[in-house]
Amino acid sequence: MAAARISRGQYGARLKYVLLLPAVVWVVAFTFLPLVSVIRYSFAAYVLGRGITGYVGLANYIEVVNSARFWHSIMVTAIYVAVSVPVEVALGFLIAWLVHLGPPGTRTFRTIIGAPLFTMEVAIGYLGVTMFSSQGGLIAVLLAKIGIDIPWLSSAWGGLAAAIVLDIWRWTSFMFLIVLAGLGSITTELYDAAILDAKNHWQVMWRLAVPLAWPVTSIAILLRTIESLKVFAIPFALTTGGPGTSTEVFSATDYLTTIQFFDFGKGSAMGIVFLIMVSAVITVFFRQMRRRLG
């Protein structure tokens, strides 16, 4: 063992850096350097065609902090993530457990339920219009028939709710596929032991599957939260942020500020404020999860 270690230490000593460095350089060049320039732009006055015309101190930040539209987009994003991610985690886990039981037809169920992850989000948002529209939309019409008449796309709450439903439809599959992979590592002997002291089926799930699949599940939750905070396509394709700007998520606000109004200084400052908030949330979240892992 010791001998193998030593030989491995010398073996490929140069190659390992040759293989790794291009990716590292790429990430530094195109993730960290752009981030540095965002910070620079956030303190600058930028005029399209002329570039940076001067530095304005905190003016961009003050504008962002005083912008109702910005804070509203943060609130919309927060609600969106806080509702959709827990539902996706719970549903994804439950369905993965059921598929993991392996009833006849499992492969068909697995194939169907995993498919939404591979669909195009803007297309789903676009299709969502035809499902939530009060004029002949499938879901709107069906719900109206049983007395639930919600102005889905003509109200802020309705639009947000509809977008969240679509998000759950698409992203539950992500949790499902990862948890299913995690459950695959539980061996039969563990089940035999668990059956002996569990009262029923659901107890086996809670006592055995949930803890054993937790390492993979927790990573899936972390990844899903990270990705969910970037949300853009589904709500924007569904409502284009409307009515007004009431369902505009952060990415949509930043996108419009940058590309529609070419306000690069403000767009950059907005991004930095958001990034600080996101990093704080992710760090706290990550610590909590590590603690629970023990």
């Binding site: 193998a4 491995r8 073996y11 190659l15 390992k16 850096y17 790794l20 291009p22 990716a23 590292v24 993730t31 752009p34 981030l35 320039s37 965002v38 732009y41 059921l98 039981l101 392996g102 009833p103 499992t106 169920f109 697995r110 169907i112 995993g114 498919a115 992850l117 591979f118 669909t119 195009m120 989000e121 803007v122 789903i124 676009y126 299709l127 219009v129 499902m131 529209s133 939309g137 499938l138 019409v141 439809w169 596929l177 990862i178 992979a181 035999d192 089926h201 993979v216 396509a233 394709a237 284009t240 990415s251 996108y255 940058t258 590309i259 690069f264 767009g267 950059s268 991004g271 990034l275």
Partner: protein, 284 residues
């Protein structure tokens, strides 16, 4: 593989499991079915939400398909999406797979788990935040509205995932054969190129499909950085959503065109998908 719990489950438990699974499958299939039905309706028929069954409730027609597919802009956007997604996939694999192998097999002064986490940490950065520098970079290098520009951006966003997933896959491959080859005098490069890579082919395919699907899906940068020549299908869908409003039949055809290519790829690789999504490496 049938679980021992299923074998011992009572009739009632089995029934509940089936009802729930069928419910989940129906919920998943519903939007597809709705899109297919609406795509063969005329605009007038789409106002009848209750008309579900073709030939019985309404006369199906391929007119909407014809209308969409005869639009050269749609064809061009579709081609753009294919080229950009495929280009990104190739480029990400070229950069990411060697790095992943290196992290899986070799020791570094810094713990390779930490290096992997460092790669993953860049996923925290929302693309919208770096839109300004990327936009200006594209302007400077005259890459606005080009395939190259988009491939460049998407490669940056997808590299981390590819590294993390492929590292996992390389670590799953037994090192015995590699060790044997080393004893035979193979160089480290030969071991990587002629042994590790061929043994990880299914993982490579899964990673490719995931990167392809994620690139295909992207809409924010596609909308910001392209306008005509390199406009992808996702950007086109978003643009027509805001300019043309929504005709159910046209929206449905567009949705199906946008959904089909990655979903077909998924069907081919779904058996191996569990390998690519186990994320065992970052357990810490």
């Amino acid at each position: 593989m049938t679980n021992v719990l299923w074998v011992r489950a009572s009739m009632w438990s089995r029934l509940i499991v089936y009802v729930l699974l069928i419910g989940a499958a129906a919920w998943t299939l519903m939007p597809f079915a709705w899109a297919i039905v609406n795509s063969v309706k005329t605009l007038a028929d789409t106002f009848q939400a209750g008309a579900i069954i073709p030939f019985v409730d309404f006369t199906p027609t391929l007119k909407s398909w014809d209308e969409v597919l005869s639009d050269p802009q749609v064809v061009r956007a579709f081609v753009s999406s294919i080229v950009v997604s495929a280009g990104t996939t190739v480029f990400v694999l070229l950069l990411g797979v060697p790095a992943a192998y290196s992290l899986a097999r070799f020791e570094f002064p810094i713990d390779s788990n930490d290096i992997t986490l460092w790669f993953l940490s860049q996923r925290v950065l929302p693309p919208a935040v770096v839109l300004v520098p990327f936009y200006l970079l594209m302007v400077q290098f005259r890459l606005i509205d080009t395939w190259t520009g988009l491939i460049f951006c998407y490669s940056t966003f997808n590299l981390a995932f590819a590294v993390v997933i492929m590292r996992d896959i390389f670590r799953d491959v037994s090192t015995e054969i590699e060790d044997a080859a080393k004893v035979e005098g193979a160089s480290a490069w030969q071991v990587f190129w002629m042994i590790a890579l061929p043994l990880s082919l299914d993982g490579l395919v899964v990673t490719s499909v995931l990167v392809f699907a994620f690139s295909w899906n992207e809409a924010l940068f596609a909308s910001a950085l392209t306008s005509q020549d390199a406009m992808t299908f996702s950007a086109l869908v978003l643009a027509s959503r805001s300019t043309r409003g929504v005709d159910f039949n046209i929206a449905s055809v567009n949705t199906l065109i946008g959904i089909i290519p990655p979903v077909i790829l998924y069907f081919f690789v779904q058996r191996y998908l569990a390998r690519g999504l186990s994320f065992g490496a970052v357990k810490g």
